[in-house]
């Protein structure tokens, strides 16, 4: 599903205004982001890229999408990473030395405008940075070449997965006002169902009862027909900001990885939805880089202990 940019067909549609189209292609642009001075990053370092988009210094055409309150919007802004490790606070300040090369990515609906990316020096409330394009990858609907082996999903930043996803659709209304909270335990069904919701959104299908039923069935079946091979999972508390009184606002999500196999045809669909998840993340607060996941097929047994 990832293709080299040069080989890529022209975009089929854009997000605003939404045209009728089969599948909304996504692109993920990864940038080098290098602070010019020693900096203390915000607790969620994704705020740096978000600031750059909102101040129209990077990918200015995305401002409206970033500000939109739509659910399941096709947008992901990652936290900045140092050697692959995402930078966010669990209470401690995040300091980075001048000239340290960080990376960060933004995923959004395919757009030609994205190629007008300039780069160079940019200024934010979080300090000054040198920014340059590192990589572009594109997601379209073509299935992955192979679904041999096990499915492996890594949670690179805490994922906030709501327990309510388990609720049968006919009970949603009854429990609409009940606050339940997060399931910190990502079963195969839960992860695949979250990917599926993103996938449906890319097809322009959101918030219908029929889709809720499909999602519920998928969740149940992916749990029933999967065999978990291995995992390392742990809850992690993360700082998402401060309230008016200067107290830290915290939330708690799951990090780590899980490897599983699925019996039958469902495996191929699951892989497709997880591929979408690896572009858009899963769960709540994707717009600030939470729920970033990485998906790959692995040889049976590889890395599973």
């Amino acid at each position: 599903m990832h293709r080299n940019l040069a080989l890529h067909a022209p975009p089929k549609c854009s997000y605003y205004p939404r045209l009728t189209c089969q599948f909304m292609q996504l692109m993920k642009m990864t940038f080098n982001v290098t602070p010019l001075h020693d900096v203390v990053l915000p607790p969620l370092s994704s705020k740096v890229l978000k600031y750059l988009v909102l101040s129209q210094q990077v990918l200015p055409f995305l401002e409206e999408l970033v500000r939109s309150k739509d659910k399941q919007k096709p947008l992901f802004i990652s936290n900045l990473a140092l050697d692959g490790k995402r930078l966010y606070s669990r209470g401690e300040p995040i300091t980075v030395k001048a000239k340290t090369r960080l990376t960060g990515s933004v995923t959004f609906p395919f757009s030609k405008e994205a190629f007008n990316v300039g780069g160079g020096r940019v200024k934010t409330v979080y300090g000054e940075y040198e920014i340059s394009l590192k990589e572009v990858s594109v997601l379209d609907e073509t299935p992955s070449t192979s679904t041999r082996g096990n499915l492996r999903v890594s949670f690179l930043t805490p994922a906030l997965l709501c327990s309510k996803i388990y609720l049968p659709p006919f009970l949603r209304e009854k429990y609409r006002r009940k606050k339940i909270g997060f399931s910190l335990i990502p079963t195969p069904g839960l992860v695949v169902a979250y990917g599926y919701r993103q996938y449906l959104a890319l097809l322009g299908k959101t918030d219908s009862y029929e889709n809720d039923i499909k999602t519920f069935k998928l969740l149940v079946m992916a749990n029933a027909l999967s065999r978990v091979v291995g995992y390392r999972l742990y809850p992690e508390t993360v700082v998402i900001g401060e309230d008016e009184k200067g107290r830290l606002r915290l939330t708690r999500g799951v990090k780590g990885w899980i490897e599983f196999d699925i019996v039958g045809k469902l495996k191929e669909s699951a892989a497709k939805y997880l591929e979408v998840a690896s572009f858009l993340g899963i769960g709540r607060s994707r717009g600030i880089g939470l729920g970033e996941v990485h998906f790959k097929m692995v040889e049976r047994g590889e890395n599973s202990h």
Copy 2:
């Protein structure tokens, strides 16, 4: 639900022959088991107690129940424990010095005969032991005094939980012959549903379509209405014996603990079913001490990190 033995009412029924009764009371007898010489225990040390029952040296009236192939039979034979740590092999031999005091328990339907327990020196294919009664606890249907706080379930030995429990009952027949495997990820719903199956068995209800539906609904709702507070979970491979060629037979289950809360009335029922689980274990191979769980209510936040 645990009561002091001396205060306890006379037994209401026994397992063989089964009388009509509301709820089958259980008793858990814990023994001190002290090897007289240095020993190498079998890979699953529960085999020692099992041997003693089968050879009618301990609780001889349980022989028939131990040999029975019934599903969900009201029997649990624990692995031997050293200072609370269950002894079983992950590949290495388990050696214990002479005179080391181990403990082990057997759970079974309440029976007066159990009080004729003698103790003293016993002989097994795994060496000679001194055995004495340490503790008796009884489970009846009286609800626990309080369900304040969070529910906390600890997996003391690897639990083998089948993914198929997630399958809606009307699809059971379709997938009857499909081998799927274990879910190594114990969600609140999965654990509560396993406890519920044991609970139903104690009411004399097994293997009906109606009960399968109830179990399925409970699983779904316990996942949908629960908030996971914390956990430490990890898969563990355990040796369960040898095949004819002397190769190790292995299986892989989950160990650790999970703490969660459940919204609404369901919490009280969940606690009741988990109490049953803490007497009878959950999942496959309970008869040899796998799936031993401990359940308690904890103050919110206690031990959750």
